[in-house]
Symmetry: C2
Subunit: 169 residues, 2 copies
């Protein structure tokens, strides 16, 4: 098996991205997006046609798209030096190291784009694998919002706000 | 002088709202929006034509619009039970009790709409008057993001994430 490869998404990739998005969101356990989100709304959120600094990425294993990510400013204007990013890995590709390497790739893309920090606004507190990954990549939990996520299986759970500097030494 | 009055904004109010928005944002001291934000972008952000649960309000003193606010879900889907809100008071109307009463009005509107909590994502740490107001209304700082705001006069300053329950006893 070859290593995963990463690239900026092209509009023609949307059907493959949608398959990842749909599958991940449907579980209702890690993302705020409605589990039954409609395809055009998903596309507008994840791969908008007109959003100046919004970038969408894909990861491939053996040529097939198995994961997708976005990178964008977390706030407009006077806050647009802090990035926000999000990743989705198709469950069939879990455990193959795609997530970590894809995370490193997008973080480096954020540094290259001049962002000074990265912030996640809603890491579901029960998503232990994600939290461990972010902590291992230098993110710290800077706040916790009680009961902010209606987990499909567990009911109301907290979400973490996580942050790290992107300063290049 | 009469008490301020509050109402849901009508499209015809936009020119008056824009005057408040433009003036507040131009200072570059309290809002992320670019100080030179263009009018159509401001309208799309503050008073969007198609955003299901986004509400825009105005406050009047002696009939004239002196302040505006928005109320919306802070997150989509499984997080849409937490509200986000923001207020702008024209500096000429400052110190006349509009801000506090307008805050109470919108918080009550959020409760009436069924929101279970309210979250602010970016309260500028040097905006002491706002922070005191939010604390007096039951909000707590649940996190601080270092250097997340490029203050027009002070350079990089922190922003607070503030939160309160809207549970009705």
């Amino acid at each position: 098996m070859n290593d995963p490869t990463f690239e900026i998404a092209a509009p023609a990739n949307w059907p493959d991205i949608w398959e990842v998005f749909r599958t991940v969101v449907a579980s209702g356990t890690t993302y705020m997006f409605p589990p039954d989100m409609r395809q055009p709304d998903a596309r507008a959120a994840w791969m908008p046609a007109h959003a100046a600094r919004h970038r969408t990425f894909v990861a491939r294993l053996d040529g097939a798209i198995v994961a997708t990510a976005i990178l964008r400013p977390n706030q407009p204007g006077l806050g647009d030096h802090v990035a926000n990013a999000a990743w989705m890995v198709h469950p069939d590709a879990a455990g193959r190291g795609v997530g970590r390497r894809f995370a490193e790739y997008v973080i480096e893309a954020a540094q290259d784009a001049g962002y000074q920090a990265m912030q996640f606004n809603a890491v579901v507190d029960t998503n232990v694998r994600a939290i461990r990954l972010w902590e291992s990549l230098g993110f710290a939990t800077i706040g916790t919002v009680p009961a902010a996520f209606r987990h499909a299986e567990l009911g109301p759970v907290s979400v973490r706000i996580m942050h790290r500097s992107l300063a290049v030494d």
